[in-house]
Amino acid sequence: MRWSHHVQNLILYLAVIVIFGPIFWLIVTSFKTEADAYAMPPKVFFSPTLVEYRGALESFWAPFFHSVFMVGISTILSLILGVPAAFALSHYQSRRNESIVFWFITTKALPPVAVMIPLFVIFRELRLLDTPWALIIVFTGMNTPIVVWMMYQFIKDLPPGIIEAAQVDGVRLWGMLWRIVIPLTRSGLAATAMLCVIFAWNEFLFSVSFTAIKWEPLSVAVAAQQTSRGQFWAQLSAFTTLAIAVPVVVGWLTQKQLVRGLTSGAVK
């Protein structure tokens, strides 16, 4: 029994090396000089330096702020649209609600490429290409169904007595949402917002299609750096490490809530 326990641990450690290893090595490479990064055999021992970060940071800030701006605004909009909808759907219980919530998630089945071309044509006509608004609109549309889906599960998991008690006390609908539902589903709400951030931050198809130099977000900048600076692997690693920092940290903090929100209603 103990023996099999250790074997299982060993397999897990190997899995960590295979799965997390590439990311770890990317971060390690970002602290090397270009010469060390290209050394063969790969250098495990080297004197770490921040010199490549200096170069990487120069081209980092502009796309970083584009991403923060577009992702931030779109996440707030998705929450403003999605949370009241989820509250309404779970508050006025009816059999049809389950299918409405399900309909929201089926809109995610629509391949982005099926709407990309007309959106491109529309944004071109409205002169929104290479402005933040095109992507804010797209990210909001993309994430609102996820907000409805997840918040519906979290609100439904609240003990039913609480809402009834508030009703008896004469709390109005908006008060209920603001003063009871939102505070009680705090952690679920945070996880939902974080998932929106991750999805929007990492989105690439629409980002590369609707923006160019002026408003390119980080995901596009990474791809662009790869073609223009493919020769500078250490600096590219530094740039990439900076680019993935936000979604990775956010993801680490929310992994548990995330699974609960995505699956709880669907497996009952």
């Binding site: 790969p42 391949p111 690439f204 596009v220 790869q226 993801g251 699956t263």
Partner: protein, 272 residues
């Protein structure tokens, strides 16, 4: 919401009946009926890319299902450092698709300085360049690497929801570890598999950034999938009508695949 997703789709259908090349305004925009479909969708090239899309998605999904289950079973025990290990294993899920492509193309498999290239050379493999030689399978493994954490987390949640008394009772009755897995854990995991396979295939059928950065669909068209074909036709070739026709076809195919998946899984669930 509806405006964002539904109206543009109707526009896609309309545009798919037009001949419109954005960089040739002199040609104008003309109604051509179903010619775009005849030329773009019912052609050999489209068929090959459709098959590639299916292979890519199937291989990636199968890898995710297997690895996700294995890791979930390994994590569903008590041991020191469990939280840290789980966190490290989840990380690829939060990485940008473009970064995934970059890691595969530059860091691991670059023909001159890649990490795995180095080990392959130690083992005496000459001309090691899988990104060019087996591009489609390489894309599938990179997608599996990125999506395996979701499968692991969901299946782990499923395992943890099993009533421990049920397993203890089975153990008392002399049920082997394999028996417990076959008769208790696997049936219990079915609804979780259903959710995660549906979610996963939604996203995996639409892979784009990984391909864009690592192989750009090449060499030739050998690692291209349908989303990349739409992008290539519409925003590189600027053939709006043709790209729309491919987009409509992609939508129909995606819906059919999801429907078949759902049917199959419901049938399997009923047998259990």
């Amino acid at each position: 919401m509806g405006i964002i997703t539904q109206v543009p789709f109707l526009l896609t259908i309309y545009l798919s009946t037009q001949s419109w090349t954005l960089i040739r305004p002199d040609l104008g925009r003309n109604f051509v009926g179903f010619r775009n479909y005849a030329e773009q969708v019912f052609s050999g090239g489209f068929g090959i890319i459709l098959v590639q899309t299916l292979i890519l998605s199937f291989v990636a999904l199968a890898l995710c299902c297997l690895i996700g289950l294995g890791l979930a079973l390994l994590l569903n025990r008590d041991f020191r450092g469990k939280g840290l290990i789980q966190t490290l294993l989840v990380t690829p899920f939060f990485i940008m698709p473009t970064v995934t492509g970059l890691i595969w193309k530059n860091e691991l498999f670059n023909p001159s300085f890649g990490l795995i290239t180095y080990f392959a050379r130690l083992l005496g493999v000459e001309h090691f360049d899988p990104m060019a030689q087996h591009s489609l399978i390489m894309i599938a493994t990179m997608v599996a690497w990125e999506w395996e954490p979701l499968f692991m987390l969901v299946l782990l949640a499923g395992l943890q929801a099993i009533n421990e008394e049920e397993i203890e009772a089975a153990q008392l009755d002399g049920c082997s570890r394999l028996g417990i897995f076959r008769h208790i854990e696997l049936p219990h995991l079915m609804p979780y598999y259903r959710v995660v396979i549906l979610l996963g295939s939604l996203f995996i059928l639409q892979i784009f950034g990984e391909i864009y950065v690592s192989t750009a669909g090449g060499p030739g068209n050998s690692s291209m999938n349908l989303p990349y074909l739409v992008y290539q036709t519409g925003l590189v070739g600027w053939q709006v009508g043709a790209a729309s026709a491919i987009g409509v076809a992609t939508l129909i195919i995606t819906l059919v695949i999801l429907m078949v998946l759902l049917r199959t899984m419901n049938a399997v669930a009923r047998e259990e």
